[in-house]
Symmetry: C2
Subunit: 379 residues, 2 copies
Amino acid sequence: MKFTINRAAFLKELNNVSRAISSKTTIPILTGLKLVADDNGLTLTGSDADISIEALIHADDPDNQLAIESTGAIVLPARFFGDIVKRLPEDNMTLDVTEGFQTEITSGSASFTINGLDANNYPRLPEIDATDAITLSGDVFRELINQTVIAVSNQESRPILTGVHFTLVDDQLLAVATDSHRLSQRKITLPTSASATYDVIIPGKSLTELSRMISDDNPDVEMRLSDNQVLFTIDDRLFYSRLLEGNYPDTSRLIPKEATTSAEFDAKSLLASVERASLLSHESRNNVVKLTLNSEDGKATIFGNSPDVGNVEEELTPKELTGDELEISFNPDYMKDALRSFGQTEIRIAFTSPLRPFTLVPTEDSENFIQLITPVRTF
Amino acid sequence: MKFTINRAAFLKELNNVSRAISSKTTIPILTGLKLVADDNGLTLTGSDADISIEALIHADDPDNQLAIESTGAIVLPARFFGDIVKRLPEDNMTLDVTEGFQTEITSGSASFTINGLDANNYPRLPEIDATDAITLSGDVFRELINQTVIAVSNQESRPILTGVHFTLVDDQLLAVATDSHRLSQRKITLPTSASATYDVIIPGKSLTELSRMISDDNPDVEMRLSDNQVLFTIDDRLFYSRLLEGNYPDTSRLIPKEATTSAEFDAKSLLASVERASLLSHESRNNVVKLTLNSEDGKATIFGNSPDVGNVEEELTPKELTGDELEISFNPDYMKDALRSFGQTEIRIAFTSPLRPFTLVPTEDSENFIQLITPVRTF
């Protein structure tokens, strides 16, 4: 195996594939990057057994300046090889597998010889049928991921809650995550009805890595499933993730239908106020801020308190405030995550009682995105 | 004590003074920021006992929007207070010390009440005479610091080597640092002869913090000494550091006068080559790279090697190469630090033998700046 390639084009895909490579793996060969040169071009593969990423660099794209002199395959130590490629002196580099998996990397007057591994020992990626594919706009899918993964649990005690629950019926794709203290739910209407129905749980970590691979030029993301794997295709990159096994709790009943107190805020300015209040609650043993709402005088006030350090009080400016008087306490970190997920928009918060979950929705689009937070009992 | 101030002007000095404040201190009041409001303006003080920084915000500078309603002093928890000031909603803030050191910080509709401490319990800063002052250009002094602190030792076994040795005789200021494996020496000719002579050792950590406080608009730095303290004045900021006590070793004899092999390089491209070679040496137990020089065929080659991973070899392009053939090994990290300190310039490296220290100087200014590195025996 021997090829010459443009270093920048190679580094770009090396960085993409490296997202899946961990130095903390129990399978030594997975610390490596797999390279395969064939007639199509150069394929890079990285995997940590949970996630696998494969990227193809086309031989026929002149930007890649890819010239394959002889085909073949090799596995190279990923972190180390990446450091070398980053620091090579010239725009192009040549990689040549000599005898016994020894690999020579040359660029200008610099020449590295490193020990590779037999690519035949690298685990095979799962094979996934193309039948059930749906296609989403990259921007929309990245937003869906970022809005839902915030509510994923990071406790391994209930592994099922470390994933996002995806269901697809007709043209409705629903994504839900909850760590049992809060919940985030996002709905997307597909342009056309899908032929299949989905009911799968994708690990939050996989989705976070996937969202980072969706570039800003809004590529299409194709999603397809097998029994225990999901495959996302973005341009010439394949992203595999295992699925979580088990039954996701029924979350539809958790979302209250009615409200006794309702307030509208600018999400960004409310976020700033909660951040200030949380400065003090973070110093306290129980990380809680208090919100009081009084529709009669239109006043909303937020309080934070730490017995050691002091307290903070701030009057908020709701756009609208209706319903019963209310005093409610909550974890400000959940509130901050939820408010950040809305970006710069108006939101409506709907409360029923001091001990029942409350919901946040965008005022303009209350059907497709909802955040739910369970309050904290302080009395 | 009560005042209103422009938040940005206040934050700027709060950040400067905070450099001296550590949360890991054995003297609890030093985790605080001292504020004194008097007729001149507002003085901020931070200290970790080794370094103290004091900044004055003038009442008569309209940019500061400083209005002192009543004078006084307070000590506030620094990290926490800084977080509050950063997140306040409006451009201005009001600070009001009410009863029992309770302090109210208000900005817009946000109001914090935090517990302060009695400023009378804050340690006093040393008093330093103005007699022996010398003045340096900020750019030059920052360069001197950055060029010498790299060679300071970070081992507490010989505390004296954790400082930079400053000597001043007539108009010659000399700064030297060595960790006994390498040495860096910088000379500055003052515009006028100083009245005093200096022979002091300033902790490397103090100098690093000081260099960060020298802004890019090249302010003058005034330096003056007392028995065991040095005071630097930059505009309205005072920077105190303790001095290290003891005798600094005589370093003048360490620098070889003659050379048997000499080579000229572009510092930046040699740095890139050493960085590549060190990728492999870092994976090895003994972190060493090898350089061979042969003036007959004009060839210079650098080698790095790790038994586990592989090796690297790169032919260098010296601008000039004279003297005996040589093979020498050294710690590439020392070489990288030294080369970075030259920036983008031509340097000359002078060798005497494979086991004797070699020196690096800028080709254009070989008198005022010299780096020395002790090689490593590999045979």
